[in-house]
Point group: C2
């Protein structure tokens, strides 16, 4: 028997004792005692929790209710040959866990989950904000017998712990149990920013799809929805100051996120520990949809051939040199920013096209009048928009090419979204700018269905090939960076661009792949089971479990393997 | 303006007058008069239809009811900027179609749709079996004013016509209308065999998913479900003679197609003009799941390393040299065959592995005792199995490598499934064997999600890259064949292998791509709008329409383009 085979046997034994948690906690120790939830199991507050339950935030109470609901409703059985029945014999005598007791370490800091979720990026970077400690006991007697313990500094930390607790249990005929008590977890995120970027402009997604996605995101501890809400193709966002933008720019009146819808989505997200950033106006490019209501602000709108003026049809960019346009854009950003509790917002900035402005008469005149070059006007435009965001209390985000290609100066508090290639991270770090990773060569969730242009029918997606979960999972956030430079990495996100996606395939194109990004940025480089990420062994097993748990909760995640393989870890390895 | 641009304008004008039918009829003429369905619209039989409605088959009556139901319930609006509202002004004065009148040409031949659907392949090849003629008038007065006419030789032809009629109409505020009357269609399939091959062994699909798929197949005039029901990973089929096969070989007792389930599925399919072929036992390879109940019949079952004995895990092949095994296999095929009304059935035959038998002691002994080589035993095995199928009145189908790689002799009535490469078609034709196309380099619906083996995590699918709809659509069934050889081509099918698929992503991985195969084999090479298939122009427009119609009927087909492009034909072409 080879060393490799021995290693696999060892890993499989190891795995059989480790809960299939995703993302895996940063520190995890387990035993091999089966325990089960008591029929009267409940989640309770420690007697000295805060100032009594009267002061406990409503969204924390709701998070507890949701956890209890899942613990009651989940039907997911352990992924072994024979499923739950395999464990039936140990269940009658397993000790009972009758409660999970919540303790808050920093009593002065009892804020709602939503307040914690919408904190500034600097607050998110503080040590311990999302951390928690969780213990599941292996004995029933004594003072703490049968009591699981969850402790955190904040309501957000408690939420993360509840999400872990809710993932630990297997179902069999109404009993919820696990096999590997005692369990001790010390956990907290490697990176403060762990996102999903979501394009609702190319095709529209009903609200129910977004809410379901937010739930699933919360289960894997993602904390940012980077909502690429508008783009050139449609303007589905109701803007309070300019209702005509969506009235004329949405695909239809049914394909609009109203002010009320956005409130619903933001509240739903925040209560689940997810902040919502809006790329309001990806700007100044990707803005053709503004021209439905305000043609005066858009250069080269629908101009042909589009490929001369834009990276994809239709062409159209904001008239950066126009004072009226700059004022309009600032008002629009301000109008949206004021309604959002989050402390981060993005002005986009990718893929601007110089020919669009060079050949636009209005822009040329404005530039002449101001004695400006396009580059100078672009600098001013970005500065104005970013300033508007800051005035509204938001940390401005910007796409990396605005900095790396167009050399637009940004202030120290700006965060860059590095997207074109993973290799751009080093270039961004060398400029000393904080950034998040969104590399198209690792993280893009589209890139598979071939070309969507009408007459390039045997062409590939521009970001071909398909990025498998393994590809995303193999990403190293600190690759090629000096220790000093690693401090600039705030986290990362996987994006779904929607040229060929809609509510119909949302779950299956996103899940469980998005889990890869979630673990890369929560757990970071060192997994506690010491399995190298790209060997896939343990990660594959745990991701299979995540997939089946998602399906059990009605998220239509795709299968990663035949079930035969899922139930027999290692037997479908290449040999 | 370039000639190309002029051509696009011409095509777009042309398209605006042509119903977005899929597959497009082989002969189609249209006008430009708007007509609408009367509020009392109904489908009626011509006064001389058969011997009066008493003798009309129940499944034809049900097909009519379904068509009326869809005409009532569909909410799909025309894909133009402004959608249905764009046409609102012409609707009040549009003439009304108050009925569709059905005429049967061959009155002696009034059989049920199910009987026609389960005919032999030779019967299916008869001219006119599925043909129909359909007219939608542009005038309301006179004897035939406001009456659409559908005429066919058989109930199956009428069904095909009803499916076309059900695809012609756009909805707006409760009115169903079209813009291009008079419409005259003469239509019938280019190929008698137009299938979907569906693997329910690697992962299981609930019955509701299969029924929904059958409905969608019927809308695009596919006529064969090639049900790859079992394989090495699981045995989800209840076999009357050997109930232990599914009792022990299915993933679970919930993941079994019972005798009753199969009856339900077959009846449902047949009533929709779809035959069901079963690959009962893909044999002698891909049969490990038999070993759960009958280990005595399986060589190298689960033997390690699997890659030495099989193309994918787990290894396992029937003991071809064992008389007991051959008898068992024949009984199994017979037991399944007797319950199925279809006149075609497949014994599979792909990817057998010689080392599995060479190293199997039992097989070696049997071969010695019989003084046979493996090749000789294989010939006998196939002959026996194919003979059993014929004895049960079925035309035997077999996978192409059994003939092209293993040189197993087959009789004239056998049909080969040519799957490894499109280039194998010529080799099969040169042997004078009738065949269907299932080339992995054009038609495989999987091939995208990367490697599913556990530790080859950055590897690709073996059939990478993803086969876009355009790739499938560019397939020429007669490529490289002589006129003589083209007579051997019965049609083709696109398969879904389920290593990484399940009910969760079924619709989105299959639709609308499967439409490509449907049109290739229904309409054939010459499209009536004379748009070259691979230019994609008109086909892309029509396939977009199919996708939106599928979604309107609750099939979760993926988007092919941003809706902005869908509503503006040609504006998202590469330029």
């Amino acid at each position: 028997m080879s060393t490799l085979s021995l290693l696999f046997i060892f890993l499989n034994v190891l795995f059989s004792r480790v809960a299939g948690l995703w993302p895996i906690p940063r520190s995890l120790s387990t035993g091999n005692t089966p325990v089960k939830l008591s029929p009267t199991f409940s989640i309770q507050f420690a007697s000295d929790f805060a100032q009594g339950t009267a002061g406990i935030p409503q969204d924390l109470l709701e998070a507890i209710e949701r956890t209890e609901m899942y613990l009651h409703n989940d039907t997911f059985e352990r992924l072994v040959v024979g499923r739950g029945k395999t464990d039936a014999k140990v269940l009658p005598t397993a000790i009972q866990v009758h409660s999970l007791r919540l303790t808050l370490t920093e009593k002065a800091r009892l804020r709602s989950i939503a307040e914690e979720a919408t904190s500034t990026i600097d607050e998110k970077m503080q040590e311990g904000i999302e951390s928690y400690a969780l213990k599941v006991p292996e004995f029933g007697g004594g003072r703490d017998g049968g009591v699981a313990m969850l402790q955190a500094n904040t309501s957000l930390g408690l939420l993360r712990g509840l999400q872990t607790f809710g993932q630990m249990w297997y179902a069999y005929e109404g009993t919820k149990y696990l096999l590997n008590a005692p369990i001790e977890i010390e956990d907290g995120p490697a990176f403060p920013y762990r996102g999903f970027s979501f394009d609702t402009s190319r095709n529209f997604y009903p609200i129910a799809d977004i809410l379901r996605t937010l739930d699933a995101m919360s289960w894997v501890k993602l904390n940012i929805l980077y909502w690429h809400i508008i783009d050139s193709q449609s303007f589905p966002l109701e803007v309070e100051a300019f209702p005509e933008l969506s009235a004329k720019g949405a695909y239809s009146s049914e394909e609009v996120y109203s002010l009320k819808d956005v409130d619903t989505i933001v509240k739903y997200a925040n209560a689940r520990g997810i902040d919502v950033i809006m790329v309001e106006l990806d700007s100044p490019g990707h803005t053709t949809a503004v021209s439905f209501a305000h043609p005066e602000h858009v250069a080269c709108a629908n101009k042909s051939p589009w490929s001369r003026y834009a990276s994809e049809p239709p062409a159209g960019q904001l008239r950066i040199a126009s004072n009226q346009t700059v004022a309009f854009v600032k008002d629009m950003f301000g109008s949206v920013a004021k309604r959002l509790p989050g402390r981060m917002m993005s002005s986009g900035g990718d893929e601007v096209n110089l020919a669009c402005w060079e050949e636009d008469e209005e822009t040329s005149e404005e530039l002449r009048a101001k004695n400006q070059t396009i580059a100078e006007a672009l600098n001013v435009f970005v500065e104005e928009v970013q300033g508007e965001l800051k005035e509204n209390g938001k940390t401005p985000f910007i796409k990396s090419d605005m900095i790396l290609t167009h050399n637009v100066p940004v202030t120290n508090d700006t965060v860059a979204v590095v997207w074109q290639s993973s290799e751009d991270a080093v270039r961004m770090a060398q400029r000393g700018i904080r950034f998040i990773h969104q590399p198209s060569n690792f993280f893009y969730l589209d890139c598979r269905g071939g070309e969507w242009l009408g007459n390039d029918v045997l062409g590939n997606s521009w970001c071909d090939p398909f990025k498998t979960w393994q590809r995303a999972y193999s990403f190293d956030p600190h690759a090629n960076l000096t220790t000093e430079e690693t401090r600039l990495v705030l986290g990362g996100q996987m994006p779904l661009w929607s040229e060929q996606s809609s509510g119909e395939n949302l779950d299956s194109i996103v899940w469980p792949r998005l889990g890869a990004g979630a673990e890369v940025f929560w757990t970071g480089e060192v997994l506690p089971d010491e399995v190298n990420a790209t060997s896939g062994g343990n990660a594959f097993l745990r991701l299979n479990e995540l997939r089946y748990r998602l399906v059990d909760r009605n998220v239509r995640a795709i299968a990663l393997q035949p079930k035969w393989c899922v139930l027999r870890p290692g037997e479908c390895d290449l040999n």
